[in-house]
Each structure stands twice: as C-alpha cells, then as structure tokens.
Symmetry: C2
Subunit: 646 residues, 2 copies
C-alpha cells in the first residue's frame, strides 16, 4: 500500500546515521515511552474510560487532551512500521480499544464534550478543537493501519469522518479554528479511496475566510460550548482579546487564517502552526485536484514566508501572543516565539510542496529547518524541550520537561519517528535523494525495484556515499544543497559531475544520474565552508549583524564558551572561521572559532560615556556551537546574530 | 531672608533667555493655570472642603491627592516670588484657607484618612504616603512664606510637623515608604530656626534601613490603612509583588531605599524619584551637620549613579515595574523608564551637592539633565508631558495631556518656576555662574551687593556675555562645561583666560576672576563641536553604537526627518556633522546633519538572507534634532543611539 502522505513510506527507510540515529533512538526510548506514561498520568486514558462508561464529569487535562493519545499512537505506529515491537504494539492496541469504546454510536468522539458538556458539541468551532482532534485521530488511525494492516482505529476514524461529513455543510456551515483535519482527510482518502473525504477536505479549505460562523461564535462566546471551561477563562468576554479581535474589537480572522479565502491570501498570517497545517492540507488538495488558483496562492504564501517572515534557523512566527506571524521583516531575536511545532509544521508543508513540484528549494528549507529551528526544540537528553526558540537570550530561557499544553514533544516524536520519509522521494518516476541522512531505502520507482544504501558525514563534513542497486534504469537525482557552492559527484570513482548546480538538469539544484544500477558507489563531495550571512536591510533586529552558517547548520555563541559578555564581540567581514574539533559536551558537535574583536576596557574607569576613539578594539576569537545544541551546558547568554565589523 | 533651599533665592533672579523663557512662560501661562483648574476638576479641593466639614466618604483621586494642591501652591509661590500677581496670590490664599480648615486640631492633615479611614492614620507608612504628603505641604508652605512673607500655610506646616515630631520616634518607630519629608524638614528648619525639625529629618534618615516596621506592614497589608483602597488592589496580598519582595517573597527594602542604612549604601537602588528625594535630604543634613559618614555615602552613591546607572540624557531609573534602578550598566533604550520626575529629583539632589562642594561636576550634570532628560518630558506646547522618556521608540510613545497620577507635570512646573535658583550660587563667599541662562541677578556675596546681567546664546552657540556690578571685590567663577574643550574669557575685550579648564583655579572646571566690578563686560566663548560618544563596553544596549552630542544637548534621529527606517543608518567614526539651520517646526532648534551610510537595497529582491558583501552601503546623511524636541511633529520612530561604522 502506498504511503498516505508522501511517495515514500516510513517502512521503506531504515535510518542508520551518526548524527540522526542518537536523536531517533532517544526519541523512541525516552520520549515515546514518557509520552505513554503521561497518557495515564495526565488522565488522558481515564477520559476515554469514563466516556465509554457513559458517565459525566471528571474530565482531566486540556479540552483537546484526546490528541495526546492520538499523537502517541501516530508516533508509536511509525516505530512499528520500521520494526515490530510486540510490547509496543499491544500497548497501542489497548489504547485503541479505549478510544473505540468511547466513540458514540453516531461516530462522534470527543471526551471533553462527552464528559463535560454533552449537548454542546459543534457549537464552538473556534476554540474547542473537536475538528482538530478529529484530524489527529485520523492521522493516528492511518499511520496505525499503514504500519500494522490493522483496521481497528481506522474504523473509528472512518466513523468519525463520516459523522463530520454528515454534519458539516448541511447542518453546520463552518470551519475549524485550528486546522489539521484538512490534511488528515486527504490521508484518509488515500487509504480508503473514498472521494467524499477529499470533498470534505476541499469544503473545509474553501469555506475558510467565507463563513461568518467563527465571528458569530465569538459574539456568543458566553453561551456556546467551552464557556464553562476553567471559570470562563478560556473564552474571555472580549473574545480572547487580541487573539481574535483587532484594536477596534472587530473580528479579523487572521489568527485562524480566516481573514480571506485561502485562494486570495497574500501573506502567511496568524497562529503559525495552524497556518502550516492548513497549507499542508491545501497542498495535498492541489496534488489531488490540481486547483491552479490554490496552487498560485501556495506559491505566494511560500514566497511571503521565506522572503519576509522566516528566521535564519527556519523558525517561523515571531510573536508570543498569537504564537504566530506579524508583519514582513518583523523578526526579533530575543523575543522570538518560533515555536518548535511551527517548525515541524513547516517541514510537513514543505515536504508536500516538494512532492508536488520536486523543486529543491523546498528540500533546502526542510534541511535548514530540521537542523536548526526544529532540532533546537529538543534537548540532547531527549527529555527536555523548548516550546519557544529565541535567537538570542540573556540566559533565562531553558528547556522544560513537559508542557501543560504538551504539543511540541509529541509533535517532535512523530517527526523523528518518520524522518526517513523526508530523505527520499519517487515523485514523477525518478528517485530523489533529498536529505543526506545515513539510511537504507527499499522502494520501487515507476515499477522498478530499487535498493539504496546511504552513508553521510553531514552536518560536520560534506561527504556522502550512496550505493544503488536496481532492477532496471532509474534516474537518481542528488540534491545539491543551496549552501554548497561546489559539488563533485563520482560513480565508482569516476567523476560524473563537477560544479554542482551548474550542471544539474533543470537548474533547480540536482545532479541527475540515469543508468542501470548494480551496486555502484556514488560519492558526493559538497563544499562546506563557514560563511557570514546578513539579513535583508528591512530586518531591524539584524541590522549591522551577521550570523554564521556552516553547511546546513546555523551557529550561535554561548556565554559558557566566551569570556566577555556576548554583546561585546564584533565579527569582521573577512573573519577567518575555523573548526574547533568535536565538542564532547555536545555529543561531538563541531564547534567553530571566528576572528572577532572586543572593546579595550582600559581607560573606562570612572566614566560611562566618552568620545569615540579609533583604536578601541582588541582582537580575539568568538567560539560558536550549532544553534540546535544551545542550552545544553551551563545556563548563560546566547546569540545567533553577532555585531558586524565592516 | 535667605533661601531655605539654596544660596540663591527664587526672587533674586529674573530669567530672560531666548531658549528658556518660552518654556518658563508656557509653564506659567499654561501648566500652572491648568494645574489650578485640575485642583477643582479632580476633586482635590473638594477633599479639603469635606475634611473641614468633618464628614466622611466622598474622597476623590489618588490617596496622595493632597499633594496636587501643595505642588501647585509651591509652583505658584515661585511665580509670586518673581513678580506679584494679585489674582494668582488670591487664588493661592483661597486654597490655603481650604487646607488650613481641613487640618485637625492635633495638627494631622491627610484628607484620604480623614474621609475614608479615620482611625487608621500612620498604620501604613509603606504606601499611604502621609509623610510624603507632609513633605510637599512643608515645601509649599516654605515657598509661599518666602514669596509673600505670609505665614498662613507655614503655620499649618509647622503644626503638622510638630505633630509628626510628637508621634514619630516614640509612639511609632518608622520611616516613610516614599521620601520627601527629609529635605522638607530641613527647609522648615532653615525658615523657623527650630532645631527639632533638623533632628526629625536626621531621625528619618538614620532609621531608614534599620527599622523593621515597613516589613511588618507588608506582612499585615490586609489589616492596615489603605487595605480597602480600590478593592485592595493597592496592596496585593503578596505585598505588591516585586515592588517590595524579592523572588523568594522576602522583603528586601530596595524599592524604598530601605535595604541598608543610608550611610552603608553602596549603589542607587529602587524607585528613582524616592532615591533622589532621599539623597537630596541627606545632602541637606550633611550641609547642616557635617556628618562625614553620610557624606562618604553620598559620594559613593553619586559615583555609582553617574558611572554605572545614568542615561546619556541625564535620565535615571531604567525599569518600569519599580520605576527605578536595576543593575550597573543596565540601560535599555526602547524600554527605558527614565521618569521625568526622576530627572527633576536628580537636579534637586545635584544642586544641593553643588552648594555643598562647589564642584562643577554637579552643575555639569544638572545642565545635561535640564536640557535633555528633564526637558524631553514636556512638549513644546507646554500642554503635553512624558512620564517616561525612552531613548528609542518605534513610534508608539507619545506625550499625554495629564496623568491619573499627575506627578510629573506639577513637578516640572515647580522646577521651571524656580529655574533661576540653579543658575548661580554664592557658596563660600564667591559668586558662581553655574548655568548659562540669560538672566539678571541681584544678591549679596559675603555681604557685598552684586548685580549681574547675563545673556546667553546656549544651547545653540557657546557665546555668553555677563555684565557685573558690585559694591566691592567679588570673585566671579565661570563654569567651563565639561563638553567644551576650549574656552576663552575676556573682560571688556581683554583676554583673561584661554584654554578653559586648564587655567581654572582648582581643576574643577572654572575660570575665576577676582576684581572690583563696576559694569565690566565679561565675554565667554565656549567651543561647541558636535561629537560622537560611545558608552562603556558593559552597556549592552549601546554596544556598537554612538550618540551625537553638541554642547549640552543630546541629539536624536526621528523618522519624520529621514527617508530610511532609522535602524538602517550607520554613522562612521569620522562623520562630518554640520548644523542644519534653525528648525521652525521646533521653535527654532538647531538641527544637525551627520555623514551616514545605509545599505544598498539592490539585489535583495526575493531573498531574506545572503552572504556578507563588502560594498553593501551607500553614503547619505542622517538628520538629527535635539532629544528634548522629539515627538513634537509627526509620530514616528526615534533613536538616540545610532549604529557605529568604525
């Protein structure tokens, strides 16, 4: 059965990579296990048991607590897809049994409403997240079915989806405040071949920005479902304040991407995770239905995001209050929100765009996001997480064990567990190697069986070796990353390409090798130089500053590595930047040392201000570590953007 | 009768200055008049009427609302001291009558407690501000008595002071949460020659940091006076949160400078206005009693403030929450608090330090504070005020008409009205010209009558002319400001000094001319060059930045004058800075134009980050206006500290 999401299935790939495998192993051994324990500890499973009993009250956790179970099943299912684990499989089945038992005869399933507000179902689409929960249920069900062939949870999801299909469009004309169900319905369609799920996804996409139901709900926020939540704090009388309303108290819709129909949207707006889930679903829809207006909208939105609203780390959504987007070029560093889940959502969206277009720019952004904006969200111990990922800190921002609203750790878990899917693609009858992650792949390309064995020295060195075996002629496209100015490709030691993107077949960043394969060794050498980058002049936060990149990694300076306060360092334009060995305290990460200057401190005794002096700086070195690795040693200041000395 | 505050009385000086007179006139014609109207509009006078009637309830305004009346009387009295105004005098007398009628037989006077909480007097010294109100009453009374010879309000103040003297030390052992009474009691002592007021001032200074009464009150905040204020919001159960307590919930005292005995204090701490009023009172006490330990403490505190906790504008107190000081070198620009009242308090303190020592550094700081940190607080229309004075703004910070807690406008009023006192001093039998403000002075120096007529082109040009007439030999000391690298002094056209401070009598910044005076013309030429200044390397907010000063003025850039967003400008170390004429929109202020560069915008289309390029800047000019004059035209961004291009 083909993957419901991408051209590569989770089970097609086995990752065995010096860099990524420890993360994936910690994810399986620590995060997914902890996540399971939390299902009982947080009352998530008890909610299902109580709903199954038909009792009322006693609900525990957030109103969308059910998703914790769904996300765990999804992550666990990806693990099962890669390698069966009877213990894990049984635990998944037990949880599925609880879920199935809780489902109402109508197909409806949401333990918050079943236990706390029966009768108020579907009255508060803005906030109460029943459709968002349904989306996670469907994703979990599809993943479980794909991993095991078992239909137990898929049947639950189908029943719920059918119920949603019955209710929406006729009885209720509205869309969810938090997207997610759109992409899930496309996955469900791909597994079931039931066109109505695709129609339903299209309905939710098309009604967004048209329907005035979300506004109506805000006007009636004290009567509808969820009003009693947490003494009403969930839905304040002012409609959630700035989340939903503008300065004049008018509903604007941007928070939930409902300010305009999707096909008319010009810029990425509002809550960043919601935006990414929506655009991922829209991309799926375009892939299925070829809607040119929607596709043009996606192009505009992607251009807006990447040209005006993206951190150098791949992080998105600068603002705390909305957890999301603000204005073009508004990219503050110390107050950056850049939620881990938003980076994950960006990966989901970009992989779909890649599958739709095979344009390497999407894989480039996935790579940058994976290694930086996403990975920083997870501690090296696999036990502590950032919800928020600033690009500068005075030293008071640290990872937490688990969150009350535990969205990021489980979201990271499902991405780690399915990482292999992002490394390859078979779109259009060609094989694409999109991420250089040590792994084996078994798949078919246009009917031809292919086996591929990749080893990679990334992100520390630009050396990749790939052995390919195939039952016939298969074009293999090697992505030449945007960060590599030069690339050399040999097959069995014979150079087939030099100069990288210049010789690629369509200028989009590949070296393409078409031939019969019988175990040939491809070797790819990517030039990997440390470089200083500047931001667009409109970005105030980065004015007069440079960031250091090496290969796919963005680097940062931490107080623990540097004697002076970080703000005192300037980096000259022609700074020599050298690698500084593997840092054992950071699991062997390659550190860097850059030429820098700091002010002389002499002569300042007793004075706070004085006239400028020409030779007020002394030369020193600034030590840098990968951004993803920050806050794993002593607490202290951190910065990605260093003052530039032109 | 000698001045109760300084060696020069308000009535000794008549200001007639091209720069300052319009401010002083607007203050008299607009602010003081508006302030009077507000006394009725806000219920301040009604509170006194009700208290006089012996009724309860109906209190209006803040719990320290009485001070609005006292501050108005003080400012009005300074006006009366300079020139009688029968209408103003009568209005003052009417208000005094209301105040006198409200006073209790015991001498106690505080309309909040009389109307709202009779019986709870003196139970909440931390917050309820009875002693702070008493301080303003005394200052008003002394000012009124000095201006008019009338004792009506002085008698009220004496009765209240006697009551305080009866109660404190025996019945209650405690100090005010908000200082002010200390300096007021010294003023009262100087007018009445009653030593017990000096003793009482000394008691309040010496008990601070020793007594545990403030802590006790916080522990009993729900029982004591003020607990019922505004539904208890005045004194939250947590003791006002971070205002009084540290992170562990312990009372620390820094907010009210009660963390240590004054003579042991090492750094300026807490609420900045309170700190300035306290240190001003301590300086008065040292002047009267010569306490060396207190004087040493003042030296330490002044050094800490000026070397580590002072904005380049003379503003102090960077933090909103405490309205005050934080840590050494913590001087953020956009979030600067730098309350207008704190700048005024700094002038009060520094003038006392000057009178104590005749060290020119105090007059230098007064000059810088008057022209920048203070003056920015008042709009050019005299009707709108800043409570808070940031050194950078994204364009959303604007002056307001009047504040609920209207402390800054009335405080500015009493400083404008008494500005002449800060221009001269006769300490130690010498005449000091401390501020170059066009004015006439009539006073006696060591018994010798002196008349002086000053005209000044400051702050636009460094040209001052002074005609002196005296009944005998009087040493005249001309302050050579710290900003002037070169100064030339002639008497009747004959050069008597060249090179400024190098030839001053004691190296502290004067040119001293001792002779018989019979109308000789002194001419002072001060070199006034625009200069770039940098901040101590420990100041993170100013790292890699320069500010522009010219003479006593700090300049800033405003969006209205510059095409590009301000963050795009860099100023080279060797920037030529030229004057740009008198700006009619800013009452003729001299603007500046500095060499600057901005990034080329070419080649950025479609990209957000790119490798550094050497020649990415184009040359332009940055227009600058005096900091005090900002936010008087179209709203927009402002910055004092510009990126430096070394």
């Amino acid at each position: 059965m083909p993957s419901s999401q991408y051209s590569i299935d989770v089970s097609d790939v086995t990752v065995d990579d010096e860099f990524w495998s420890p993360w994936i192993d910690r994810n399986r051994d620590v995060t997914v296990e902890y996540q399971y324990e939390q299902l009982e500890a947080s009352g998530t499973l008890e909610n299902f048991r109580r709903a199954a009993d038909g009792t009322e009250g006693g609900f525990q956790g957030m109103w969308f607590q059910d998703t914790d179970a769904y996300k765990w099943i999804e992550a666990a299912s990806y693990e099962l897809a890669k390698a069966d684990d009877p213990d894990l499989r049984e635990r998944v089945e037990e949880v599925i049994d609880l879920i199935a038992a809780a489902q109402k005869d109508s197909g409806y399933l949401d333990t918050y409403f079943q236990l706390v507000e029966p009768g108020n179902e579907w009255t508060n689409l803005n906030i109460m997240h029943e459709l968002y929960c349904a989306g996670h249920l469907i994703e979990a069900a599809v993943a479980h079915h794909e991993a095991t062939g078992d239909r137990s949870l898929l049947d639950v999801a189908v029943d719920f989806a059918d119920h949603v299909d019955d209710v929406f469009g006729d009885e209720i004309d509205g869309v969810p405040g938090h997207e997610g169900i759109e992409l899930a319905l496309v996955r469900l369609y791909r597994v079931t071949d039931e066109e109505r799920y695709l129609d339903l996804a299209e309905y939710f996409v098309d009604r967004r920005g048209h329907d005035d139901r979300l506004q109506w709900e805000l006007e009636h926020s004290e009567e509808i479902g969820g009003s009693s939540w947490d003494d009403g704090a969930l839905i304040p009388a002012d409609g959630g304040g700035s989340l939903f309303l503008d300065e004049d108290g008018e509903y604007v819709g941007t928070y939930a991407q409902a300010h305009a129909p999707v096909r008319e949207q010009e810029a990425v707006e509002g809550h960043a995770v919601r935006a990414m889930y929506l655009y991922a679903g829209v991309t799926d829809l375009v892939a299925e239905r070829g809607d040119e207006a929607l596709r043009a909208a996606l192009d505009r939105l992607w251009a807006n995001m990447t040209e005006k609203r993206l951190y150098v780390t791949g992080g998105i959504g600068p603002e705390y209050d909305h957890e999301g987007f603000t204005e073009d070029y508004d990219l503050p560093n110390e107050t950056a929100y850049a939620e881990t889940c938003a980076a994950i959502g960006s990966v989901f969206w970009n992989q779909r765009l890649f599958e739709l277009t095979t344009d390497a720019k999407y894989a480039d952004l996935i790579e940058r996001t994976l290694y930086n904006g996403f990975l920083a969200g997870v501690g090296l111990d696999g036990e502590r997480f950032f919800y928020v990922n600033p690009l500068a800190s005075s030293g008071d921002h640290h990872r937490s064990g688990w969150f009350t609203c535990a969205c990021c750790p489980p979201n990271a878990a499902r991405l780690f567990a399915s990482l292999g899917q992002y490394c390859y693609s078979t779109t259009g009858g060609e094989l694409y190697v999109t991420q250089y992650v040590g792994s084996t792949l078994e798949t078919t390309v246009d009917g031809t069986e292919v086996e591929l064995d990749q080893s990679s020295a990334l992100p520390w060195e630009g050396r990749v070796e790939i052995e390919v075996d195939a039952a016939g002629a298969v074009p293999v496209n090697l992505r030449i990353p945007a960060w590599s100015e030069d690339a050399t490709v040999t097959v069995d030691g014979e150079e087939v390409s030099h100069g990288g993107k210049e010789v690629s077949h369509d200028g989009t960043g590949y070296v393409r090798i078409e031939r019969d394969w019988s175990g040939e060794d491809i070797e790819l050498r990517l030039e990997m130089e440390s470089e200083l980058v500047t931001a667009h002049p409109a970005v105030e936060a980065d004015a007069g500053r440079v960031a250091v990149r090496r290969g796919p990694l963005v680097y940062c300076a931490e107080a623990v590595d540097n004697d002076r306060p970080l703000h005192q360092y300037s980096v000259p334009d022609d700074a020599a930047i050298e690698t500084d060995g593997a840092d054992a305290r950071l699991d062997g990460a390659t550190a860097l040392e850059a030429d820098a200057t700091v002010p002389f401190l002499d002569g300042w005794e007793g004075s706070l201000y004085r006239p400028v002096e020409e030779t007020a700086e002394e030369e020193t070195r600034l030590r840098l570590v990968p951004y993803y690795a920050w806050d794993n040693r002593e607490a202290g200041a951190m910065q990605v953007w260093h003052r530039r000395r032109p």
